[in-house]
């Protein structure tokens, strides 16, 4: 393990990962009201490639190991996701005194995870050639759903009016989970050799595509930043303070689960991230009276950039420290 000062040096050297610079370019262009705007079809194309890439990569690794052995980890992650949502709710509702519905909706976002942050975490590990557990993409899927369910439960209680079947169906059949799980299954069935001919598109281009995706995320985040004025200082603080806390919890959980440094780092990155696709869509249909601008601005315009710029190097330091 490198000594803290070395780790710090590494942080400074690496924190200018070029994919993050694309995010900053998008953010700057958006804030400067540049005419730059990428059409929705490009967003769909690029995110489809990323989700399939992550899924395939995980799948071909899963093909190398017994999958049943993962069941305990998966159960642990479901509990972790739910627990993080409860914790977020408690902080928002009882400490920050935000109303119940908005607290519950935001808690669902922060207990859930962001695929884009995960992708940047993977790119980060790749550029340092640090390896990580094959099952991480599967873990991502497992962490995505429970917090959303907890968020809705916290708002509605056991209210008979909640169409659980409908809501779960929408989440599980949403674009991102279908592509991630589809990629996982294909990679798993086809195995490393079968996926080999697909590598030029799905693996070699990964970082370039991620850069383009982050450019778009920067533009989208800039558009969300307009919503700031309506936010109290409390919510802004929450969006910046929660990531390191949840990241530490994730790093701790990863170490307990026996993950490697790379896996621990990725789990921390996941827990520290906030959903901006699955959670908003579900909350919008299950808790329409929650204010979507609050949670979107927080997760996209604050937590996401925070994780990119500050969080990711920090979670690596945490993971390395815990694995000393």
């Amino acid at each position: 393990m490198p000594r803290p000062s070395t780790a710090l040096a590494k942080v400074q050297r690496l924190s200018i990962d070029p994919v993050v610079l694309f995010f900053l370019l998008g953010l700057a262009a958006g804030l400067a009201k540049s005419e730059l705007r990428l059409p929705p079809a490009i967003y769909d194309f690029v995110s489809t490639l990323l989700l399939l890439s992550i899924g395939l990569k995980g799948g071909i690794e899963l093909a190398r190991q017994p999958v049943l052995a993962l069941v305990p980890d998966i159960l642990a992650l479901i509990l972790l996701g739910a627990a993080l949502a409860f914790l977020a709710f408690a902080l928002l509702h009882y400490v920050a005194r935000i109303n119940r519905i908005d607290s519950a909706a935001i808690a669902g976002h922060y207990g859930s995870v962001s695929v884009a942050t995960f992708a940047v975490g993977i790119a980060w590990l790749q550029s340092q050639t640090i390896s990580y557990e094959a099952e991480m993409p599967l873990f991502l899927v497992m962490l995505e759903v429970p917090a959303i369910v907890v968020g809705i439960l916290l708002a509605r209680g056991m209210d008979a009016g909640v169409r659980w079947g409908h809501i779960l169906r929408e989440v599980l059949l949403g674009r991102s989970i279908v592509l991630l799980v589809g990629g996982l299954l294909i990679g798993w069935v086809a195995g490393p050799d079968g996926v080999q001919p697909l590598a030029p598109l799905y693996f070699d281009l990964f970082k370039g595509i991620l850069a383009l995706f982050l450019l778009e995320m920067g533009l989208i985040a800039a558009a969300q930043l307009g919503g700031f004025r309506q936010h109290g200082v409390k919510l802004i603080a929450f969006a910046l303070v929660i990531p390191p806390i949840f990241g530490a919890i994730g790093a701790f959980a990863g170490t307990l689960m026996g993950l490697s440094v790379g896996g621990t780092f990725l789990l921390a990155t996941l827990t520290a991230s906030a959903s901006y696709i699955a959670a908003p869509a579900s909350m919008r249909s299950a808790l329409p009276e929650a204010n979507p601008a609050l949670s979107l601005t927080m997760s996209l315009a604050l937590t996401f950039p925070f994780n990119l710029l500050v969080g990711i190097p920090l979670y690596q330091t945490m993971a390395e420290w815990l694995h000393r």
Partner: protein, 101 residues
Amino acid sequence: MTPSIRKLVTIVTEAQLERELTRDLESHGILGYTITDARGRGAHGQRASSWELSSNIRIELICEAAHAAELMAYLQTHYYQHYAMVLYAQDVEVLRPDKFR
């Protein structure tokens, strides 16, 4: 062939409501509608990104006036309060009135 009069109802709302709303329309007996992608601005601010969560759709449907009134009342009750939505109606001349109920 003298044209008959029907109502054209136009709904501009959040793109992510598409599936739910079309199911609703169908369960209200609306058998025909046309959807285009849109962006815009309104009480809920700018809705114009490359991103489904903040883009709009525009649904048009032609039906009988009474049916239209009922549908608009329903939409207003169920969606207006919590979603970005604009709703308006017009008379239009159609050639095959039996097609639009």
